[in-house]
């Protein structure tokens, strides 16, 4: 974005709304700042992570988008690229990492696995999509998405950031979205603590005998 444009709201502002000009202009400044330095978390899960690394390397060079600074710690990261298969064993760690990321934070589900479980969806240790736990901003289909497809997803994320407004983003508002996501627990299977009533209703009802587990 041209720095000149930052000061212009870019649309006609009705007289009675003049007092919000400051905030709309601030939005643009704020969005411009964020979209140009989205630092991803250095975090790979599976095959897709290799394409993510390739995206970062010489040929595709994420530095052109200000995204090359992969942070190994979630405390400095803005974007979590969930690159690979999310397993039940791993998901507590992922949720914890997400909770540790400072706002504003975004999640990009890279590849079929992160989006909905992918080819391994039927597996007993696979979470059917990270969106069961985290709010996903952009989905990039593909198995694995080529580096160019990933960049395409990142550009889409930038577009999304461009449209955001400080007044509306969920992390500055009160509500269920602004609290940390409870970390799931590993029991006989993955227990999402938000769903305990459902699980209880299911397991304790007599009709719940589904299969013959050994």
């Amino acid at each position: 974005m041209n720095p000149k444009d930052i000061n212009l709201p870019g649309y006609e502002i009705p007289e009675e709304l003049k007092h919000v000009i400051a905030i709309t202009a601030l939005d643009r400044l704020y969005n411009w700042g964020r979209r140009s330095s989205v630092w991803p978390l250095m975090f790979g899960l599976a095959c897709c992570a290799i394409e993510m690394i390739a995206t970062q390397a010489a040929r595709y060079d994420l530095a052109r988008f200000g995204m090359e600074v992969m942070r190994p710690t979630p405390r400095q990261a803005d974007l979590m690229i969930v690159a690979g298969t999310v397993t039940k064993k791993m998901v507590p760690a992922i949720v914890r990492l997400y909770n540790q990321m400072p706002e504003p934070k975004y999640v990009l589900a890279m590849g079929a696995c992160a989006s909905s479980g992918g080819p391994f969806k039927e597996g007993y240790n696979v979470v059917a999509g990270i969106d069961k736990f985290l709010p996903v901003d952009v989905y990039v289909p593909g198995c694995p998405p080529t580096p160019q497809a990933l960049i395409n997803g990142l550009i889409l994320l930038q577009k999304k950031i461009d449209k955001e407004s400080i007044k509306q983003v969920r992390w500055y508002r009160k509500g269920p979205d602004s609290v940390a996501i409870p970390i799931p627990v590993l029991g006989p299977d993955l227990i999402d603590t938000r769903r305990i009533p459902d699980i209880k209703a299911h397991t304790l009802s007599s009709t719940s005998k589904t299969d013959d587990q050994s």
């Binding site: 064993k89 069961k132 029991g187 050994s214």
Partner: protein, 580 residues
């Protein structure tokens, strides 16, 4: 049917009458050993018959009556396998552990316990490995069904002709990939850290004392699963005395994608693209191993031209694997990015070739039973020719100049992470790790498969057993691979690329087969049991990344924590294959 190759040299029955019987099931080979005498027989196999390398331990569930554990042992001097098995009742599967004899069985026996519930008596640390302690059930048992279970065998009937789109979630009562035993009360459930057992095992096995015999204080730290240099989601619990490592347990399974369970539902062909996702750097090698195993079972030849294409692709993939390894290794040592960026440039050029022939950069899905999926165009062959005759040698020399003599690198690698040849064999190390300990064991030479006997190349081998040797072995291997590709390019004939008609319905006669290749990371084996159905009854992957971790603790003890990252990097693990 291929003759049982393992029975040619020795006669176990003569040595152990009434304890060993030959396996006479049609399509099977090897020996069946009485479980009560397994330790005795196994000791003799190692010491008397000098089968010193136990390559794989596989549990098989012959539902409904028995379980079987299959062992493949090799001589490091070369030659075919000695296959022996024990059979145990399914309701009480207990087998004596062979870990005291071959330490390399340690992780594999844990795997068989975790996934099949076979107990190994005498195992020093029998815990679950991929799933967490407390998980309900042993998933690879045939009567265990996953929450998204639909049918025993693909294709599922719900897809056609009345295939209304219905996500798997919609079919389950909890609308998710979840199963809880009936009567389980999540509110009464008290969470226990499933990894506590790992820490306890560490404390049990290592009791550090100072000179006066007083127990000293130790700390256990966790590295991973989210750690910038554990190559994905690997985790290790490291026990430290000050900065020195005194004990270590790998904790794996964070990428356990149920490859084998899915593989047993898939038809034989459908497994091919899944093998791509094992070692996702080297889908070509994975395809190779799986194709070999199934071709062995089917007893079909491979088209001549396809053999050459296979070798070229597998070697290209080895080159790019090792190049990336240089980069990643240097990343681990702290030389962030420069070598990795250089390596990725060459990798991209090799991936271009894969993309042009197989259609995808990483997930090639290129091999078919009897050949390959499509021909290599002249244009691509010329590109390969250019690469191996011009660019790659230049770039490898450049990498050599950049790194090999670098004093910082040398001082970080030389003498660190030592593993003796004896220990390396005992822990079933394979691939560059074994050869860096001075054992010139390369399956391409020791037990040639495909057409590797037609090429001249040297087996890279360095006797020092430290990380620098591992570095040098890989550097040499890249050069040898280039040599092989050059020869293959010269000899490649014209002709068909499939020996049989391509078909998606493949008839595989009943029997078992073990196909193994020298993958860039070590011996990659596929153990497949067919019962004549369209899908394998048992589909097991002998993953070099996993088994090469057996000696990780050995290499790390006494070193500084800062070197752990490098030692792990030098093993060259990839999580897709390690956890499957």
């Amino acid at each position: 049917m291929i003759a049982p190759d393992s029975t040619t040299t020795i006669d176990l029955v003569a040595r152990f009458p009434s304890v060993v019987t030959p396996d006479t099931r049609p399509g099977y080979s090897g020996w069946i050993v009485d479980p009560a005498h397994l330790t005795e027989v196994a000791t003799a196999i190692r010491n008397e018959f000098s089968y010193d390398l136990l390559s794989s331990v596989t549990g098989v569930d012959y539902y409904p009556d028995k379980m079987e554990v299959v062992y493949h042992a090799y001589r490091t001097t070369g030659g075919p396998a000695l296959v022996f098995k024990v059979q145990i009742p399914r309701h009480n599967p207990v087998v004596p552990s062979v870990t005291p004899i071959w330490k390399g069985a340690e992780l594999q026996e844990r795997e068989a316990w975790d996934l099949l519930g076979i107990r190994f008596e005498g195992h020093p640390d029998l815990r679950r490995i991929f799933m967490w302690e407390g998980f309900a059930g042993h998933p690879l048992r045939k009567d265990w069904k996953e929450p998204f279970y639909e049918e025993d065998v693909k294709p599922f009937k719900s897809r056609w002709p009345e295939g209304k789109h219905l996500p798997a979630e919609m079919r389950t009562p909890l609308q998710d990939n979840l199963f809880f035993p009936p009567g389980f009360d999540p509110e009464a459930f008290s969470f226990q850290d499933p990894d506590q057992a790992a820490y306890e095992a560490l404390r049990r096995q290592h009791r550090p004392t100072d000179e006066d015999g007083i127990q000293t204080d130790v700390i256990i730290i966790n590295m991973g699963p989210q750690h910038p240099s554990t190559h994905g989601v690997f985790r290790a619990a490291v026990m430290l005395d000050g900065e020195t490592i005194i004990g270590l347990k790998p904790i794996v399974g964070y990428l356990h994608r149920n490859h084998e369970k899915i593989g047993e539902r898939n038809t034989f062909l459908q497994n091919m693209p899944y093998t791509d996702r094992l070692d996702y750097f080297n889908s070509m090698s994975n395809n190779f191993g799986y194709a070999l195993a199934v071709e062995k079972l089917m007893g079909i030849p491979v088209a001549e031209r396809a053999e050459y294409i296979r070798v070229i692709m597998a070697e290209l993939s080895r080159i790019q694997n090792h190049l990336v390894w240089f980069g990643m290794m240097l990343n681990d040592l702290g030389a962030m990015y420069t070598p990795a960026l250089y390596a990725f440039e060459e990798r991209e050029l090799i991936l271009d070739i894969f993309e042009a022939t197989a259609g995808s950069r990483m997930m090639c899905n290129y091999f078919r039973f009897g050949g390959v999926a499509r021909d290599v165009s002249e244009d691509t062959l010329r590109k390969i020719h250019d690469l191996v005759h011009d660019r790659l040698p230049r770039k490898i020399d450049e990498m050599d100049r950049l790194l090999t003599e670098n004093e910082v690198l040398v001082s970080r690698l030389k003498g660190i992470g030592y593993l003796s040849a004896e220990d390396a064999i005992r822990t079933s190390m394979t691939g560059p790790m074994l050869r860096a300990s001075g054992v010139p064991y390369d399956i391409r030479r020791a037990d040639p498969y495909s057409i590797y006997d037609r090429f001249e190349f040297d087996v890279a081998c360095h006797p020092e057993g430290d990380m620098y040797a591992r570095y040098q072995v890989r550097m040499d291997e890249v050069r040898e691979s280039i040599k092989i590709i050059k020869q293959a390019l010269k000899q490649i004939p014209q002709g068909p690329i499939m020996s049989v008609k391509p078909s998606y319905q493949i008839k595989v006669p009943p029997g078992e087969a073990y196909g193994r290749v020298e993958a860039p990371k070590g011996e990659l084996g596929f153990y497949i049991v067919s019962n004549g159905q369209p899908n394998p009854w048992r589909y097991h992957v002998r993953a070099p990344s996993l088994i090469n971790l057996t000696s990780l603790e050995m290499m790390c003890i006494g070193e500084k924590i800062a070197d752990f990252v490098a030692i792990l990097g030098a093993v060259d693990i990839v999580l897709g294959e390690l956890d499957r």
